[in-house]
Every structure is written in structure tokens, then in C-alpha cells.
Symmetry: C2
Subunit: 249 residues, 2 copies
Amino acid sequence: MKKNTKVNAAILIIGNEILSGRTQDTNTSTLATWLNSIGVIVSEVRVIPDIEKTIIDALNILRKDNNYVFTTGGIGPTHDDITAQSVSKAFGLKYEIHKEAFKILEAYYKPGEFNDGRQKMVKMPENAELILNPTSGAPGFSVENVYCLPGVPSILKSMLGSLKNKIVGGEPVLSHTISLKTVESEIANSLTKVQDQNSDVEIGSYPFFHAGKLGVSIVLRSENQSRIDNCISQVLEFVREKNIEIVDR
Amino acid sequence: MKKNTKVNAAILIIGNEILSGRTQDTNTSTLATWLNSIGVIVSEVRVIPDIEKTIIDALNILRKDNNYVFTTGGIGPTHDDITAQSVSKAFGLKYEIHKEAFKILEAYYKPGEFNDGRQKMVKMPENAELILNPTSGAPGFSVENVYCLPGVPSILKSMLGSLKNKIVGGEPVLSHTISLKTVESEIANSLTKVQDQNSDVEIGSYPFFHAGKLGVSIVLRSENQSRIDNCISQVLEFVREKNIEIVDR
């Protein structure tokens, strides 16, 4: 099967705790790294509050504009967990007990422990597909191209394995980084020339300051290794001419 | 002057490096924490790529829906820094050399060092207001309700001081956290009752796993301390009844 060359996804982070600054989101980085590794380009991330209408509106835009949407957060047992009912409304589906999920959690908990609060976690859009959770039992779910994952980073990470066969990426995006001991303005013009001659390679320039070192990382991204290699040669050429020290390549 | 009770803001993170997973964004957390402390509610965060049309479209939506928009990234000297020209287009303004910014950077650099690359950093929408940069010279800028900041976290942080007098918040949102040694499903029903009786307090429930401890943090947020206090009493009542250990309050 020939893969589409461009497959894109949006990430929808649902959670007041990120918007208040209380919690540092790390799920974006986890999901984006994983998606890029399987050839899915992340086109947009949105962080929105636990408000039903906001979730529905964002979902309905993002699921039309992207091959995949991944949501994080809001699938636990408490009153502020409203992702499953919001997804149901976005798709016009019933919000009901999912029989397979019910069986999983009934077996997961000790007799008598699968209480009302926990039973909320098996209410999902009708006919949702489950995303198994090897860490804490309660599964995520998907409807069409929307995949709903939990907000707790360690649980989310543990669930990516069971998504592997469901997400079909395009050509993986290859990447090469050259780190230089310089400042951006020293190389800006030369780098613009390289970009102009290589419009099919995404060239990023990122200043860094760490371990007492100040420098610039040039990141070259493309599905095509030979085009990246071509850019590397051109970058190394101006680096040599300008007598810039290479920190890492 | 009576403050508006609700002042909101959106954060627009401009940068391919976040979408590729290469860089972990921390500016959202920095800005959100600061904005909340001055009474500005963050209603939405978007992370978008370095694509002019995408930046313009997002800006034009967010600046209408919010009292303030803060952008991060894309104001450096390289070809992938296109925030200033995109903001100019979004507002239909000329993109030109800002005289005051030019003077600042001319004085900042040694004679002969204020080269073409660096001069790009003083091109801005006409009549933009500067946001001074005590770390690395090159200022940010604002146009109407849109404030453009750099992507490098340490530089962004150092510029918030000069924004203090420009951003007028509403009533600060007060917050109180009670951390319990329990799991969410044990308290879900009780917490729903508290939320139902206190619709003007935002009650969040967040599982945590750290330092070998597993528990739930209940976060109570409101502009009104007495309403928070009322919720605290109600939470502590069910905590006592259920004999749940309090980790922190």
C-alpha cells in the first residue's frame, strides 16, 4: 500500500489546570514526538477549558481539518471529566455504558469496588472503539478519527502501544540538527539562502543557552534524506567560510 | 476604578519546534501563571506552525474573542521568524523599521555589529508599541490587544516586568488546593454534590503520583474567598466522614 505523503493530526488538551498554569503540560511533547516518528505531522495544538460547548466546537473544527485528532484529559470519574459526553454530542451519538469497557473494569476491581463513580468511566459514545489501558484499567476510546486519551502523562504514555496498529502515518519526517557556537543574526542571511534554494526542506533556527553555552541549533526536516543531506552540505559550507565552531552535528 | 470581573486572554505559541515534539513548551505555564496572578483568565492556548496564513487566521479569531492575545516565538532574525510580518498583515498595517527599536539595538550592539540580520528584528507593524527586553536587547511589541513576545523562555520571563502596567486584569482568581490520600472514584459523588451546591466555584480534581504517593488534589478557584472557604468546609466534611487522610491543605 502506498502511503499518503502527508498525514496530519491535531492535539486537543482539555483541562483547566493547564490554562491556570498550575500544571505543566507534557502530553503535547509526548504525543508530538510519537506522531512524528510514525509519519504523522502535528498541525495544531489547542488547550481548552472543561466547558462542553468549547470542547464540542473545537472537536468539530479539528476533526474536519485533520486526519486524526487526539484529545487528552477529562475521561476520569469526577464531575469535571466531561470529554466522553462532549464527544458523544459532537458526533450526535448516545452517551451510554460501553459493555466491553464495563467488563474490563468489573474484572479489574475487587468485588464491590466497581462503584458509581468508577462506572462513569465506562460511559462513552455508542459503539466507541476502546483504547486499552495497561496501567490503571480504565480504557480510552475512539470515534471515527478522534482518539480520547487520559490526562495523566504516565497513563497516556502506556496507552500509545495499543494505538500503533490504528494510526496510519505517511512518510516519516526525517530530521537532522546541526548545533553551532554562534548567534542567529550571524547566520540569518546565509540560512535564508539555503532555505530559498531548498523550499521542500523545513529549516528551523533555534537559539540555545545551556550548560553555560550559547549557540544556535539548525534543524532540517523533510521526508527525503537526500534533500536533507543537500542542505547539510550547504550549511556546512557557510559555517566553514564564516569560521564558526560546530558544537554538534 | 471598578475592575471588570472577567478579563480573558489567549496564548498563541508560534513554532514548528513545539509541534515536532523537539522542544517542550514552558511559556504557556509561565504566561498562564502570571496572567492568573493579575486577574486575567486564560481561555485558550493554540500552538501553530510558522506559516503566515495560519498565524494571521488564528490571530484574527483570537484577538476578537479575547481581551488580550499573547504570542510567543518568531520574532528573531532568521527566515523562520515571521511573526512581525504576519501581525502586520493581520491588522492591515505596514511592516517597517521601527525607529525607537532601531535606536535601542544600534546602541546595544558594538559599532558595525548591527548588521542586516539583526536589523530584521526592528521591522514591526507601523506604530507598534515596544515591549522592552532587559536580557538581549531586541524588544517585543504590541498592536492593539496583541502582545508579541520571544520564544526563548528566559528572555520571555525577563520581559513580563515591563508588561505589568499595560495589562489590566479583573479580580484575581483565588485558588485553594486540598490534597488527599485517596483515588478520584472514592470521592467523585461527594465532590459532584459540592460542585452542584457551589456553581460559582470552579472545582477541579487531579490525580497525582509523586514521591511514591498516590492521591488526588482538589483545586477550588473563585474570585471570592468566602465562597472558596464554604467549599473547603464541605470538602473537609465528606473527607472526615469517609475517613480519608489529608496530605496537604
